[in-house]
């Protein structure tokens, strides 16, 4: 009899805690998008992310030092020659945002852009 009284709240507690535990795990694993930077383009040159969904842009340099900056979103990351850098963030507004290479990388540097679509 005592055992039955103990099991009921235990089962209820499990039912209540498991989904919230899953939620926490989901928040801890942001979507990762790999982007290759090379003179003078980003590959892919367009990405789409969701507002409110954490994301990590993983920038890999295939040649010289590069950077990626979204001025409107106050985001900037620099990546060494041949290296990798990460830009973690959570988009908080929808729209199309154009990021530019933020490290001077040669004659075509000014046209090196990445368009990010943030959707609901």
């Amino acid at each position: 009899m005592k055992m039955k009284y103990m099991l009921v709240p235990l089962i209820m507690l499990s039912a209540a805690t498991v989904p919230s535990h899953w939620n926490v795990r989901a928040q801890e694993a942001p979507r990762r998008i790999e982007i290759t930077a090379k003179q003078f383009s980003f590959e892919p040159s367009e990405i789409t992310v969701k507002k409110g969904e954490p994301v990590v842009l993983v920038i890999k340099s295939a040649d010289v030092a590069h950077g990626l900056r979204f001025r409107e979103l106050n985001l900037n990351v620099k990546v060494d020659k041949g290296g990798t850098a990460e830009m973690p963030f959570t988009p908080d507004k929808t729209g199309d945002f154009v990021g530019h290479c933020s490290v001077f990388c040669g004659s075509g540097h000014g046209g090196m852009t990445l368009t990010m679509h943030v959707v609901n």
Partner: protein, 156 residues
């Protein structure tokens, strides 16, 4: 090498040896300045979309250091540029009235397309729009002449 080609080359070399760059006279300078401000350089009314603050100035200073310092020096006033006295038309100090009297839009147009007749090249495509606009802010608030030292490329 054919005789005609050899003769042409010799004449070309002789002609170049005889060349000498002399600074333009006052009248010529005034005419050209008037022409540049009122005829050749357009985009008078475009406004700078970037805020005029310390962050933009810092961006402009960095962008300026990639490309512009070779002719204009780190301070925009030709400090440490070894050939500044050997070019005609001369490289202007960016702090001069002639330069500062351009509108922001005209400065952006010069940065985009260069300016004729001078050695100033266009930077559209080489630098992004944001970088070019931030350079306009840097030009509006140049550091004191000589305060930034000599460009690295002339110190080695």
């Amino acid at each position: 090498m054919s005789g005609i080609l050899r003769t042409t080359l010799l004449l070309a070399i002789a002609g170049l040896v005889g060349c000498k760059a002399t600074p333009p006279g006052k009248f010529e300078s005034r005419m050209m300045n008037f022409g540049k401000h009122h005829v050749f350089v357009g985009n008078k009314n475009q406004k700078n979309p970037l805020p005029d603050n310390r962050n933009t100035w810092n961006d402009g200073k960095e962008a300026f250091s990639h490309y512009c310092v070779a002719c204009h020096g780190m301070d925009g006033q030709n400090t440490g540029v070894p050939f500044v006295d050997h070019i005609s038309p001369p490289i202007p100090s960016l702090a001069s009235k002639d330069v500062q009297s351009y509108t922001d839009g005209q400065l952006k147009s010069i940065l985009d397309n260069g300016i004729w007749p001078s050695g100033m090249p266009g930077s559209k495509g080489t630098l992004s729009d944001d970088e070019l606009w931030s350079i306009v802010v840097f030009i509006r608030h140049l550091p004191p002449a000589g305060s930034q030292g000599v460009p690295d490329l002339y110190t080695h």
